[in-house]
């Protein structure tokens, strides 16, 4: 599988490490149900069949965090972008 890094171009997936789905929000530790919220935050994932947005780190490359749009049914990768607007600015 090849992943298009927005900085380096297409690279072998072995250069990247996978974090997981985007959009997770760290719960408020002072909430009354904080324990359950943290359980879900750490362990529960959507496991979507279809288009997903995932965080990958180009660890053995430019070391940028990127968001990759991937279809889990076909493995087709339809896009990628820098996870941080600061990285995007520095890449221009």
């Amino acid at each position: 599988m090849r992943i298009p890094c927005p900085f380096c171009g297409p690279r072998d997936s072995q250069e990247f490490s996978f974090l997981g789905q985007t959009g997770l929000k760290r719960p408020d530790p002072n909430a009354p149900d904080a324990q359950k919220q943290f359980h879900d935050y750490v362990h529960i994932r959507d496991n979507k069949a279809g288009l997903t947005k995932e965080l990958w780190l180009h660890a053995n490359g430019c070391r940028s965090w990127i968001v990759v749009e991937r279809n889990t049914l076909t493995h087709e990768i339809t896009g990628s972008e820098f996870a941080s607007p600061l990285t995007k600015e520095a890449a221009q």
């Binding site: 900085f7 380096c8 171009g9 690279r11 072998d12 072995q14 250069e15 660890a59 053995n60 490359g61 430019c62 070391r63 940028s64 820098f82 600061l86 990285t87 995007k88 600015e89 520095a90 890449a91 221009q92």
Partner: protein
């Protein structure tokens, strides 16, 4: 007063055995460590990249290269490694004052980190250099895809590398963490053995 000046110690000298090795009667590959070479990393601060490009242009006479590119002038080479970050090498007259010149050019626009004692640089050249490297380097080194002046941060065997091509011989340079130098050499020598190779001490 005692002389306190320190002289650099080669990362690879104990493991480099000068002479001909591998297949006999042919030399497809030449290997050497690039010594007398200062190294530094230059990282633009938030929002300062454009100003840094202008400032280094004034100080070094070249524009900082875009992604996957390197550029050289008067013994100084800038290699793009990450968004807003460059590995810089200084040789010849540029070896001794590289960090100082970079710091002056960077001012409050960028961080300069001396890497001279952290990385080792190996040069591999010859008409079979591409074939020897291709056994472990994960990017496409075909001249259609990777030419003189091109650069990449990538993965080779088990090493995080910075790779750039310096001429059409072809000649490549690899920068790695210096503690990995011995393993990198071991792999390069295994890869080059079938082509015959010379080590220049």
């Amino acid at each position: 007063m005692a002389d306190l000046s320190l002289s650099p110690r080669s990362a690879l000298a104990p493991f480099l055995h000068a002479g001909h090795h591998g297949a006999e009667g042919k030399t497809g590959v030449k290997l050497r460590e690039v010594t007398a070479c200062a190294l530094a990393e230059l990282t633009a601060f938030k929002g300062q990249k454009a100003a840094l490009i202008k400032s280094t242009q004034n100080a070094f006479g070249v524009a900082l290269p875009a992604a996957n590119k390197s550029v050289s002038k008067d013994g100084v080479t800038f290699i793009s490694v990450s968004p807003g970050k460059w590995l810089v090498t200084g040789e010849g007259a540029a070896e001794h004052d590289l960090v100082e010149r970079l710091e002056n050019a960077a001012g409050s626009l960028a961080a300069v980190v001396n890497q001279s004692d952290a990385r080792a640089v190996v040069e591999i050249s010859g008409d079979k250099a591409r074939s020897a490297l291709a056994k472990g380097v994960m990017i496409d080194l075909d001249p259609a895809a990777f030419k003189t002046g091109d650069a990449a941060t990538s993965f080779a065997v088990q090493f995080w590398i910075t790779l750039w091509q310096t001429n059409d011989a072809p000649t490549y340079r690899l920068a790695i963490f210096r503690s990995m130098g011995r393993d990198l050499l071991h792999w390069l020598e295994s890869s080059a053995a079938e082509f015959g190779y010379d080590i220049h001490g």
